[in-house]
């Protein structure tokens, strides 16, 4: 809408976007200046790069490969609880990583349900640590995402095509050639790229299930160089490599991916005539039950394991929980102060920088920003004393791309529908923001704030870099309890974290929609 007058200035949004760009690029610059070219890459660094690429590729292939039959089953079957199951597929997005890992350990760990079953049958227990554990956790998180992306592809096939195929009496092979194959060729590469990009910057999973020379990701290597060796030069060098990798992957993912995976309307029913045979029904049922069990069993395990521990939680856990709530609240406020003006500027179409900065956040790695901030803060203040605000800030920047995807389309709608009327009433600037923009954006603002609060509440990333032994957020405290083999206390704290994350999301999302006129 270039050339058209708009009731809202692009200036605050552009300023916010510049701030974000400065933070991401400035910390990168700080890191780059510290990186000593002379040291070069050691054997372990190459191993970290290799492991990062291997686990991300495997995770992407497995997640998408398994998502195809699951999505197909969900697309063509109607059963009670289907809507709920599809809604649950969105839950891992805001599920704290450390909580999921405890759940996975309870099911797949050495003392977990699966191993106990195997021992009962006289077989060897399974081993979860290492490459397969990391991949397992990544599939747990990304199978639902990939399923949603591919399900969207299935839903986008027009109903007329299915009617036509039914009239042509198309069998499974013909269905594949006519409808499913072309759709998957369009959708699957995007899903692969998205999952690959997400797994590249995996930190918490690698921290808890990986480690050691043979299962260290780049993010983890940055953390170790920093935390154990205090080798800023090497941390910087690894950060540069990580940024190149995530930047390239994010670009590819943006290029090849169409949908966004948490759009509404995925539970819409399309009438189908194919796949009525017994075999097809059985296969669909098998995949749906398997994926539901894979998703639900670890969550059930957390609740079961956490309940006894919940009553016996110590003061240190409650204190960490208080810190987490503070971090999440601060992070949500920062996010909204950045994202709302940026969305307005992007929707007014006069701020390329606002859209660009939103995308930049996809490529940014929290550990790289954290390292850069540490290098910048170190000469002037005690970085450890600033753990709380720094964590909140980095979490806000990481949530920014998602918030922009939620806010910008609605902001476009609001400006398109009410922009001219507001202008003709001479309602501009703050009056427009207060009377029209913010009230009309309420539902989307609540959703974005809910995501940001939940993500921040459960984040175990930059806080591990900045926290001294006296300070912890709840995820970090759980990690420390796990390290001390106090699994019952860890499970109780994990259940508390789960309730806090989901609760924060629920309250903010509901609050946004409460009494909001359509």
């Amino acid at each position: 809408m270039a050339g058209r007058a708009q009731p809202v200035s692009a200036f605050p949004g552009s300023a916010a976007a510049l701030l974000v760009a400065a933070l991401i690029l400035g910390t990168l610059g700080a890191v780059a200046l510290r990186a000593e070219a002379g040291t070069g890459f050691g054997v372990s660094d190459w191993a970290a790069l290799r492991f990062t690429l291997t686990q991300a590729s495997l995770s992407a292939l497995l997640s998408v490969g398994l998502a195809i039959p699951v999505a197909r089953g969900l697309a063509r079957r109607r059963f009670p609880g289907r809507t709920l199951l599809i809604a649950l597929l969105g839950a891992p997005f805001i599920l704290p990583v450390i909580v999921a890992i405890l759940g996975l350990l309870a099911v797949f760990g050495r003392a977990g349900w699966l191993s106990q079953g195997l021992i009962f049958l006289g077989l060897e227990p399974v081993q979860i640590y290492g490459l397969h554990g990391v991949v397992l956790a990544h599939v747990f998180f990304n199978l639902p995402l990939a399923t949603r992306l591919i399900l969207q592809g299935w839903q986008e096939i027009p109903a007329e095509r299915f009617r036509l195929a039914a009239q042509l009496d198309a069998g499974p092979l013909a269905m594949w050639r006519l409808l499913e194959g072309p759709m998957l060729r369009r959708v699957a590469p995007g899903a692969l790229a998205v999952v690959f990009a997400i797994c590249l910057s995996s930190f918490a999973v690698a921290l808890t299930l990986g480690g050691g020379p043979r299962a260290t990701t780049l993010e983890l290597a940055i953390y170790q160089a920093f935390r154990f060796d205090f080798d800023l030069g090497r941390a910087a060098l690894l950060s540069g490599l990580q940024l190149l990798l995530t930047g390239a992957a994010a670009l590819v993912a943006l290029r090849v991916s169409a949908g966004e995976g948490f759009g509404a309307g995925l539970d819409r029913a399309v009438q189908r005539w194919d796949g009525q045979g017994l075999l097809a029904r059985g296969l669909d049922g098998f995949w749906i039950v398997l994926s539901a069990a894979f998703l639900l069993l670890p969550l059930a395990a957390i609740v079961l394991a956490g309940l006894p521990g919940l009553a016996a939680l110590k003061g240190s856990v409650w204190q960490a929980a208080g810190n987490s709530i503070l971090v999440a609240a601060l992070s949500t406020v920062i996010l909204l102060m950045l994202a709302l003006p940026m969305a307005a500027a992007a929707a007014a179409g006069r701020s390329g920088i606002a859209e660009l900065s939103g995308i930049l956040g996809l490529a940014a790695s929290p550990l790289v920003i954290g390292t850069g901030l540490f290098i910048l803060i170190y000469p002037i203040a005690d970085p450890f004393a600033l753990a709380l605000p720094v964590t909140a800030l980095v979490n806000a920047v990481m949530a920014l791309p998602f918030a922009m995807r939620i806010l910008v389309p609605r902001a476009r709608e609001v400006l398109g529908r009410y922009g001219r009327l507001s202008l003709s009433l001479d309602m501009q600037g703050w009056a427009f923001v207060r009377r029209v923009y913010l009230p009309r954006m309420r539902a989307q603002t609540g959703f974005a704030a809910g995501l940001a609060a939940a993500l921040s509440m459960g984040d175990l990333g930059v806080v591990a870099l900045f926290a001294d032994p006296d300070f912890a957020t709840l995820p970090l405290q759980i990690y420390r309890l796990m390290g001390a083999y106090r699994m019952e206390a860890a499970a109780g704290a994990a259940l508390l974290l789960l309730m806090l994350s989901m609760g924060a999301f629920w309250i903010l999302d509901r609050g946004g929609r409460w009494h909001a006129e359509a």
């Binding site: 001219r420 202008l423 009433l425």
Partner: protein, 232 residues
């Protein structure tokens, strides 16, 4: 006198040319084939589209570079004329102060305007609680308190049934007569023009023509208008 002096209006990649005068207090219908630029013409008067050549003058004052909210113009759009999250009274009050800080006297003015359009006592409701016709009346009450010299209508009643639309058009004509406002209304229905417009501006083939007396033009249409009206 509203004067469009040798104007060229850009809307995306097509342009509408206009060189015409409209007498103060006139009620003028803008008709023509869809896509010919009827809305483009009124949006230029409102200040939403850039005029790349020529000037727009009202009583001799140049409006061409003025911001939309500073022009002596009130406008009603096809839809979205009310903010659903504000009450009826607040929606009207926007016409006095966009920041909604009104004196007691001004709130009484709002209530009087609502009473004038037949919605007395409904100020506390939200638009969703009103019928389509009542919502149109709220928008007209706002136009009333705005008290601008020029009223632009971009088919705001298109979604109403025929009887209700006629009722709203009559109300517009009545209010304009009382306040002496100049009305420019886009329409694709020649009956709207016959109902309340003294004059018609025909927009066709990228050009807005001089206004002509309604009955004369519609009873004796030039070829471009004839093609649009059809044999009926």
């Amino acid at each position: 006198m509203l004067r469009l002096e040798n104007c060229r209006i850009m809307n995306g990649d097509y342009a509408v040319e206009a060189d015409l005068e409209i007498a103060p207090g006139a009620c003028v219908a803008v008709i023509g084939p869809s896509g010919a630029g009827k809305s483009t013409l009124v949006e230029a008067v409102a200040g939403f589209l850039p005029v790349t050549r020529g000037r727009i003058l009202w009583r001799g004052a140049d409006l061409t570079r003025q911001a939309p909210g500073k022009r002596p113009v009130a406008m009603l759009f096809q839809d979205g004329n009310l903010f659903p999250h504000l009450t009826v009274a607040q929606n009207v009050a926007l016409g006095l102060h966009a920041n909604l800080r009104l004196s007691a006297a001004e709130w009484r003015q709002v209530e009087a305007a609502l009473a004038r359009v037949g919605l007395g006592g409904m100020g506390a409701r939200k638009p969703a609680a009103l019928s389509g016709g009542q919502q149109s009346r709220v928008a007209l009450a706002r136009v009333l308190v705005q008290g601008r010299d020029i009223l632009l209508l971009d088919e705001p009643f298109a979604a109403l049934g025929p009887a209700l639309k006629a009722e709203m058009l009559d109300l517009v004509a009545e209010l304009a007569r009382e306040s002496g406002a100049t009305v420019l209304m886009v329409s694709h229905d020649p009956n709207d023009a016959r109902r309340i417009a003294d004059q018609v501006v025909l927009v066709a083939e990228g050009r807005a023509h001089e206004p002509q007396a309604t009955a004369e033009l519609l009873n004796n249409p030039p070829p471009a208008l004839k093609a649009y009206l059809g044999s009926a």
